[in-house]
């Protein structure tokens, strides 16, 4: 069957008798824009499915993430946590797309999508517990800050190796298809990660297996210091998906209405037709790559300023005010309230004890094998011998 279809396709292709090479210019990828920076809507633009409640939830998440990012960068500078990554400038991309999903659609993110998790309702104290790797962290204090995960909220735990979640998203979505569930997986990644082999593997498999998955690329112009001009020579990421049998769309990633609209349509394609989709959101990483990075070494202030004028949060605020759903007074109040809440939660999390030493060996396997139990017992004996050298644990193991 498949072979017949293929040969039919081939016979329909135009035939030439002199060499004709095709190139990227044969394919132009338009960018979906709905919202102007002043908050007005482009003429003829089709709005996404959005009401006041959803709009304010999205905006509330924007405000929360801004407050969290700002405070936690400062906390890292003060040495209170070891590491942090902001998503400033890209809030519309992940929060706007997650807002288009069902609450139980699986999110498989890279690491700059704390907004998606916040939108799902991850409690502030859980963000903090993870970053302070204390005993209340769902991840038991094992991973670096910002490597969140939540089974309850269908947010797969983040891992550092880039692109690995992409083929995993295909497998997870295949599971949905097997069970005939009305769910899809959304898989976030940056344009740098799209250069990994796992990207190629994933979109090819998604196309072949026809899985309900949305691949969401945050094309923010840089992978650490590497500009996209040194990342790829083609027209971004979207056209690659088409070549693999996915549907693709490019959106203004600073336009939350465009992101929401595109993702709502993508979800329909994924769920109703098992048609995988790739969304490329064009945006800009306004902050540093991470707290270990200083962007002044590789890009200009002027360029940053140009993008600061396209701030997705401001753009959406203007629209909300024009709808009569929001005011500048409310805005100042909520920003202040978020900052205070973040500060209070941070101080709480700092006081929580480190995870128990026993959790050093749990979850390596479903149950700790004998050799791990022996290694832990040996470690405990050593800590009891030198308690001063291990202040985090010494006091607690002695009281067992």
């Amino acid at each position: 069957m498949a072979n017949l279809k293929q040969s039919a396709k081939q016979s329909e292709a135009p035939v030439v008798h002199n060499p004709v090479f095709i190139d990227g210019s044969d394919l132009t990828t338009p960018t979906l824009k709905i919202l102007r920076q002043d908050g007005s809507v482009y003429e003829g633009a089709e709005l996404p499915d959005i009401n006041k409640e959803l709009a304010l939830k999205i905006y509330d998440t924007f405000q929360f993430i801004r407050a969290l990012d700002e405070r936690m960068v400062a906390a890292q500078r003060q040495g209170r946590i070891s590491f942090y990554m902001t998503e400033i400038g890209e809030e519309a991309a992940d929060i706007g797309s997650t807002a288009a999903l069902a609450d139980d659609d699986m999110i498989m993110a890279q690491y700059r999508e704390q907004g998606a998790l916040a939108f799902r309702g991850f409690p502030l104290d859980q963000f903090m517990n993870q970053m302070f790797s204390n005993e209340k962290d769902l991840g038991k204090g094992r991973q670096m800050p910002i490597h969140y995960g939540s089974k309850d909220l269908h947010y797969m735990t983040i891992s550092s190796p880039l692109g690995t979640q992409l083929p995993q998203a295909v497998g997870y979505a295949y599971g949905y298809k097997l069970e005939e569930k009305d769910n899809c997986v959304i898989c976030y990644f940056g344009e740098g990660a799209a250069s990994e082999g796992d990207f190629h593997a994933a979109i090819n498999m998604a196309g072949v297996f026809k899985v309900p998955a949305i691949f969401f690329c945050r094309n923010n112009g840089y992978a650490i210091s590497t500009p996209s001009s040194e990342q790829f020579a083609g027209d971004g990421i979207a056209p690659r998906a088409v070549a693999y049998g996915l549907k693709a769309i490019r959106v203004d990633g600073n336009d939350v209405l465009a992101v929401l609209k595109a993702t709502q349509e993508a979800r329909k394609l994924a769920i109703e037709h098992n048609q995988p989709v790739l969304i490329e959101a064009m945006t800009y990483r306004l902050g540093a790559h991470s707290t270990s990075d200083d962007p002044s070494g590789y890009r200009s202030k002027k360029e940053e300023e140009k993008w600061r004028e396209k701030d997705p949060v401001l753009r959406f605020k203007h629209w909300l005010i024009q709808q009569g759903w929001w005011s500048e007074e409310q805005d100042a109040d909520i920003a202040d309230a978020k900052r205070k809440a973040v500060m209070a939660a941070m101080k709480e999390a700092e006081k929580v004890a480190a995870p128990h030493l026993d959790d050093l060996i749990t979850d390596v396997y479903d149950t700790p094998p004998k050799h791990l139990q022996e290694q832990l017992a040996e470690l405990k004996a050593h800590i009891r011998q030198y308690p001063d050298a291990y202040p985090k644990t010494a006091g607690r193991i002695d009281h067992e």
Partner: protein
């Protein structure tokens, strides 16, 4: 009971696993209608449909990445890597992802339903890339279980246990024995325990330890030694991680001597790990240095296939050297 070769035993185990647990899915390169290049998945697609037994595109990192995602969603994912030599493109998905999935998430998520099957080993004129024994690359990765059967009965029981184990398991099948090794295998469902070595033959003078296809070689060496009046205790480790330290320790405390043999190269091979552990647990019992009879520290050669292999003669000589030390 029926007489099966090792491939039929693997096929039978997969059949039982898929029949009993509808969430079990088999996939890999050419495993679908064709039934696999060695026919390990024969008739499974006919029986369970295209959605549960199917071909993937030719991408090992994709296969294991896909398998991780499927297992994370609660399915039993049985992925085939066509030759163990081609598992390396998936190394990142195995070592950084599968092995660490449960630990890094604090058990919020896991890929316990994952089993990776792959034919391994030399002796089939496979040259560099159809002969490798890569087990030691994986035994050094916490979070993985590594299992290697020696015959059809072991293959079926250990594979069923691996599929049902709630941890990611790499199951290396000795392809040299796929058709060469035959034996009586129960038709019904049974499991052999993971993490437990099998004492194939009791003895007094030396403990001879191996796994997978090497057990056939060691049986010959041990039989030759018996003719010289040397009583060997022959042990099949079966599971390399976590391995059965207790059984090997008890044996060496009794015999006072240990020989470990594997096809993989000497340096960094799993025999080194065993030797270090046993000299620690059996220091006062050892009467001779622990012997390692392994492949050379070279890539696996084609023309010198026979010379490279740690065959029965090399092992026989090592047994004699150890006993007369």
């Amino acid at each position: 009971m029926s007489n099966m070769n090792l491939l039929q035993a693997v096929n039978n185990a997969l059949d039982i696993a898929m029949e009993k647990e509808p969430k079990t899915v088999c996939f890999g390169e050419d495993v679908g209608h064709f039934g696999g290049v060695f026919r390990a998945t024969s008739h499974l697609q006919e029986k369970y449909g295209k959605s549960r037994c199917f071909n993937t595109p030719l991408t090992e990192q994709g296969i294991i990445g896909f398998a991780n995602g499927l297992a994370a969603g609660g399915h039993k994912a049985i992925a085939e890597i066509q030759f163990a030599d081609y598992i390396f493109p998936a190394f990142d998905q195995i070592v950084n992802e599968a092995a660490k999935f449960r630990y890094r998430s604090g058990n919020e998520f896991n890929v316990g339903g994952l089993t990776i099957r792959s034919p391994y080993g030399g002796g089939i004129h496979g040259g560099l890339y159809h002969s490798q024994s890569p087990e030691a690359y994986f035994t050094g990765t916490p979070g993985l279980k590594v299992v290697m059967p020696r015959n059809p009965y072991q293959a079926k029981g250990l594979l069923l246990a691996s599929i049902r184990d709630d941890n990611p398991v790499i199951f290396f099948e000795p392809k040299r024995l796929y058709r060469a090794s035959t034996g009586e295998v129960p038709e019904e469902d049974y499991e052999l325990p993971l993490g437990k070595a099998d004492i194939m033959q009791e003895g007094r003078d030396i403990t001879v330890l191996g796994w997978g296809a090497q057990m056939e070689v060691l049986e010959k060496a041990v039989a030759m030694a018996a003719e010289d009046g040397i009583s060997c205790e022959l042990i099949d480790l079966r599971t390399l991680m976590p391995w059965d330290v207790e059984t090997v320790t008890q044996s060496v405390q009794k015999t006072g001597r240990l020989l470990i043999s594997h096809e993989a190269p000497l340096s960094g091979g799993f025999a080194g790990e065993i030797a270090a552990t046993i000299q620690d647990t059996c220091f006062l019992s050892l009467e001779s240095p622990i012997a390692r009879v392994t492949g050379l520290d070279t890539p696996f050669p084609l023309a010198h296939d026979k010379e490279y292999m740690p065959d029965h003669l090399k092992n026989y000589e090592a047994i004699k050297r150890s006993v007369s030390f």
